[in-house]
């Protein structure tokens, strides 16, 4: 029997993680993500999992990678400054194909910026923040319900693709309270174990190797250095590096349309909003307030890898409007993939989300 509750977004994040089998949390407190750590501290020990408050975010990221190699479904939660600190170890997780979930309840930046206000300024950091070429997966909830569902989904994506997966939420969704339906159970897609006769970094047909869990007798060597299929360092052969990094990139990027998760509303419209996160809420209000106008809405629940084909769901689109809580980040991806349509950036920073009036005025301007 599913349950109906009235719940905070950050709590929904924990509940979603626990439902998905998260059994290790390592973190360091930072506003506006702290409730995630606090609730994990309360709930994980009772659920047979492990909570540890690490000395900083670098350590938190290291700890969840270490835990993941023992087979744990591991997670951390942070916000901007902590996220920046995690970057080196996030790259390590990419290189070593370590599944893990990183929740970023975004706040205003740069630097300590606005701890208690909302922002979406880290969208490019989760894609390009660590050094080197890499692909990652990022989910973005626009409701408390989605916070629950997408956090759970993030674990499955992390395990399936063996890639660090981000829940790129923000203060608005993290701190709001909403009605949420908690299902009996959520889908759990466990990581595939390493098969007999395969090498620990030998990919299957999907580009993902089987997982050689520590303690299971595979004697795997895991290194952030460029390595061969055995996991042994091989750092100067251009072919070994190119083959590895391209595989790590393509195993995610080649599946971008399979990974995609979105809503497309009023697909005949000429003016189309493209949103991710809280912007979707305002657009929904605009659509509700102007039922007779054809206003299109594409809401992305997964922004990385960017599902560019979703833009083609709007064949009559003349204008794509992209409201976001930064000075224009995902709008570049939209613009990169449009073919002649006008792309309007609607940046907003300072801490508040767009109002319905602001967005409707943008529609009128396109008439």
């Amino acid at each position: 029997m599913s349950k109906i509750e009235f719940m905070q977004g950050n709590r929904a994040c924990c509940e979603g993680a626990l439902a998905a089998g998260c059994n290790f949390f390592g973190g360091y407190p930072i506003t506006p993500s702290t409730e995630v750590a606090e609730l994990m501290a309360l709930k994980l020990p009772k659920a047979g999992g492990t909570f540890i408050q690490m000395e900083d975010e670098i350590a938190s990221m290291g700890a969840i990678i270490g835990a993941s190699w023992t087979g744990a479904r591991s997670m951390t939660a942070t916000s901007g400054p902590g996220f920046s600190l995690m970057m080196e170890n996030i790259g390590y997780a990419v290189m070593t194909e370590t599944p893990c979930v990183i929740v970023n309840i975004q706040r205003g930046g740069p630097s300590t910026g606005q701890p208690t206000m909302s922002a979406q300024g880290d969208m490019m950091q989760c894609r390009f923040g660590s050094h080197g070429d890499m692909a990652t997966i990022a989910v973005v909830p626009s409701t408390v319900q989605e916070m629950y569902e997408l956090t759970a989904k993030a674990f499955n994506l992390a395990d399936r693709f063996r890639v660090p997966t981000f829940v790129m939420s923000d203060e608005t969704i993290g701190h709001m309270r909403e009605r949420i339906i908690i299902p009996d159970k959520v889908d759990i897609v466990p990581r595939k174990p390493l098969q007999e006769g395969k090498l620990p970094f030998e990919a299957d047909e999907n580009g993902v190797p089987g997982f050689a869990k520590f303690g299971s007798g595979h004697r795997v060597h895991v290194t952030g250095l460029t390595h061969d299929e055995r996991g042994y360092p091989d750092t100067t052969d251009p072919d070994v590096h190119a083959k590895l990094v391209k595989r790590l990139y393509n195993k995610v990027e080649s599946k971008r349309h399979e990974i995609a998760d979105y809503d497309a509303v009023n697909t005949d419209a000429e003016t189309v909003f493209v949103t991710y996160g809280p912007g979707a809420r305002t657009v929904r209000q605009v659509l509700h307030d102007h039922p007779n106008e054809e206003i299109g809405h594409l809401n992305l629940r997964i922004v990385w890898p960017f599902p560019e084909d979703t833009l083609k769901l709007f064949p009559n689109a003349k204008t794509f409007i992209v409201p976001e809580l930064n000075l224009g980040q995902m709008v570049r991806e939209v613009a990169r993939h449009t073919t002649g349509e006008k792309v309007v950036s609607m940046p907003k920073i300072g801490g508040y989300i767009h109002t319905p009036d602001e967005l409707y005025a943008a529609v009128e301007a396109e008439k």
Binding site: I58, A59, A63, A67, G215, G217, H221, V222
Partner: protein, 265 residues
């Protein structure tokens, strides 16, 4: 017997190793492997973890599950491994720079938590892998590429630091004192909580060459003659005799029972 131990624990297909001829790291690895074998630990239940540096390459040559992580962060990763699965035996290899400079915060907190693992620091008093820059353990007056006029900063006493921060077992020996070092590691492995073993090692390439210890044997001889047994040093202290310049203490600094984390249930 000896060969069998090495055949069992080393990855033959990873040889040759990257350590320079005469490097002390190999000796410390051998002592550690002997100690692990004496504990009769199973290969499949044992995990070696390291950060970045010459010293940190050690786990790559050992035939167990191993994590070669980011510079300075080995203890954070090790904390995750041990806390998520206390049934695994965890040993960390690290260098003086890896552990005490970039990794200093993780070091004191791992000791404070007293996580049930053994940390072996190969202290060559220099950054080896990056070519001989100064480390928090480069003695005053010694030459490195970033202290061309002689190091001026006071050094960290890593063993004292570990004791102060809360480790259960702390000892320091050198690559000359192989028997004592092996025994100290074995005691560390058997101790509940964090054991910190500092192993002073010769680095003929990055340290010795610049500090009038050009021959491998010169630096080993220097360690032999400059190491003062802890008991003797304490006696000298009581008698008001100063420890001669450039000398350092070796021995068991502490062996105690303290509440520990990540202990096998």
């Amino acid at each position: 017997m000896t060969t069998r131990v090495f055949e069992k624990w080393y990855r033959e297909d990873r040889l040759p190793h990257i350590f320079c001829t005469g490097c002390g790291n190999g000796t410390v690895m051998n002592c550690a492997i002997k100690a692990v074998d004496m504990m009769q630990w199973e290969i499949d239940d044992t995990v070696f973890i390291s950060g970045i540096g010459c010293s940190s390459r050690a786990p790559g040559y050992i035939s167990t599950d191993s994590l070669h992580t980011t510079h300075g962060r080995a203890l954070a990763f090790a904390t995750g491994v041990k806390m998520a699965n206390p049934d695994l035996n965890v040993v960390v290899f690290t260098g003086d720079g890896d552990l005490s400079a970039i990794g200093g915060n993780h070091f004191i907190h791992a000791c404070r938590r007293n996580i049930d693992m053994t940390v072996i620091c190969m202290n060559n008093m220099i950054y080896g892998m990056t070519g001989g820059q100064g480390s928090p353990c480069t003695p005053v007056g010694k030459i490195s590429t970033t202290t061309p006029y002689g190091a001026t900063e006071p050094v960290f006493d890593l063993a004292d630091l570990a004791v102060a921060a809360g480790a259960s077992h702390v000892a320091r020996w050198t690559s000359y004192h192989t028997k004592e070092l092996t025994k100290a590691i074995e005691t560390g492995l058997a101790t509940e909580g964090l054991s910190f073993i500092e192993a002073m090692v010769q680095c003929p390439t990055a340290y010795g060459r610049r500090n009038k210890l050009r021959q491998v044997t010169d630096q080993v001889e220097w360690m032999r003659t400059h190491a003062i047994l802890l008991q003797k040093a304490r006696r000298m202290e009581q008698e008001g005799k100063p420890i001669p310049e450039e000398h350092f203490t070796v021995g068991e600094f502490i062996h105690r029972q303290r509440p520990a984390m990540g202990v096998r249930r």
